[in-house]
Amino acid sequence: MSGLSVGVLALQGAFVEHEEALERVGATPRQVRTVARMDGLDALVIPGGESTTIGLIGGDSGLVDAIRSAVAGGLPVFGTCAGMIMLASSTTGGRQPLIGGMDIVVRRNAFGRQVASFEADVSMPSVGDDPFPGVFIRAPWIEEHGPSVEVLATVRDHPVAARQGSLLVTAFHPEITGDDRVHRLFVDIVRGDGTGNQATPTVGGGIRVRPQ
């Protein structure tokens, strides 16, 4: 199969790491800094970084609006950490422009400041039986979500990975681990054969609606 053209939002943050991971799973990455660079993309990745920075720069240049339209038109998007925040319908503890599209409320810096950043094995059955090496950096979590959102992983009782249609989000950073299974899942979703379409409730995964 020919390489998918996957944009990586390159306004600020760890976008190079995503490009490298996408190349390893056979996709063709393209840095996106302007609206014009959105043309002809099969999918988009929104990387980790500072969501306020990404939102402000992207808001001014019209990119946030362009991505919002593309998401409404069905463009598959994978957001990690700040990218998850950008795809949320709203946040607690933030005032930056959001792209939205996913029926989730995200709490920014939910696990705490950098001293509380941590690594943890994350059970994520949608990418395989082996736990995924989760790196959580000033990480957010999903505070609430609607019924059409499938939670793919939870940590400390909070959803940290989820999917809604062709939108995929993680609070942690697969792009800096060298483990490409989440990127592979995203590419499968883009190609329309993502196995995550069927809910697979297992330990650590499965559907949870509005915890608490």
């Binding site: 600020q12 943050g13 800094r33 980790g48 500072e50 306020t52 920075t53 700040a82 959580f136 800096i176």
Partner: protein, 288 residues
């Protein structure tokens, strides 16, 4: 270590701004800074005041932490591990063991492996950068010459580090032992640098960046991001300049954008020529 170095990866392509008040911190956040450096005085004022420059009062740091949601960094003196302990207790997000403050130890830097909070350290060349990484630094920045508004030293340090790495990559494996000796750096890190063709951690530029063009210059020379200190709050109109520098770092390869964001910013900070500084006024020679 992945969580410590990882935060620096998330800061890439961004601008870290020196701030001294919650108001300045909010201006920085609203301009798109990816982090702020909480200080009692910016480097230009430290330079002007003279005397011993120390860690900021915790109240200054706490007020700034309260004001913004982006990461907050703070400086400790070189080798002053108790200031570092205090900053960690304040839950600062990154500690800058900085030559801008008066060094507390002329021989030893802080043993940064002992801390949960990650450290950024300045470097003027590859050997210095690798020595800091060996001590546990999770991020490197060029020293430049802080508080001058003059980018010449930052350029020299960035070019030096890059050309030294390029030279390493061209060496035979059996020549790396002697290279490590020359660089006064651990062989393992030298060998890794030769293999990967880059520093093992993120490398920002700092010290003398005053304009959007300065920031883009450092990015085109290979910086992963930029620290701006005195350049913003010593200029005539800080908020638009801060925003312009953020845009310049994102679009560092697009001269049309750089021309637009450089327009009508008002006077930049006046700046200091290196030749007017005596040897004892130089900050970048502290703690090598």
């Amino acid at each position: 270590m992945r969580a410590k170095a990882g935060l620096a990866q998330m800061l890439k392509g961004g601008v870290i701004m020196d701030v001294t008040t919650p108001e300045q911190a909010r201006i920085a956040e609203d301009a798109g800074a990816c982090a702020v450096m909480a200080l009692e005085r910016i480097p230009a004022d430290i330079r002007a005041a003279g005397g011993v420059a120390r860690m900021s009062d915790p109240s200054v740091i706490r007020d700034i932490q309260e004001a913004v949601s982006i990461p907050v960094m703070a400086k400790c003196r070189i080798g002053h591990f108790v200031e570092a302990q205090i900053l960690q207790a304040l839950e600062i997000d990154y500690i800058d063991e900085s030559e801008v403050l008066t060094p507390a130890d002329e021989a030893n830097h802080v043993d940064k492996h002992r801390f949960t909070v990650p450290f950024v350290c300045g470097a003027t060349d590859l050997g210095e950068a690798l020595r800091r990484v060996a001590e546990g630094a999770a991020m490197i920045r060029t020293k430049g010459e802080a508080g001058t508004g003059n980018v010449v030293e930052a350029v020299r340090h960035m070019r030096t580090i890059r050309s030294e790495i390029a030279r390493l990559s061209a060496l035979r494996e059996d020549e790396l032992y002697a290279a490590a000796k020359d660089l006064r750096a651990p062989y393992e890190l030298v060998s890794e640098g030769a293999r990967e063709g880059r520093l093992p951690v993120v490398n920002f530029s700092a010290g003398g960046v005053a304009t959007p063009a300065d920031a883009a210059l450092m990015m085109q020379l290979g910086a992963d991001g930029v620290f701006v200190g005195s350049g913003i709050y010593k200029s005539a109109d800080p908020a638009p300049r801060a925003r312009a520098i953020v845009e310049a770092v994102t679009h560092f390869e697009d001269p049309d954008v750089l021309a637009r964001v450089s327009t009508d910013l008002g006077p930049a900070m006046v700046g200091i020529g290196m030749e007017s500084l005596s040897e004892d006024q130089l900050l970048h020679t502290r703690g090598s």
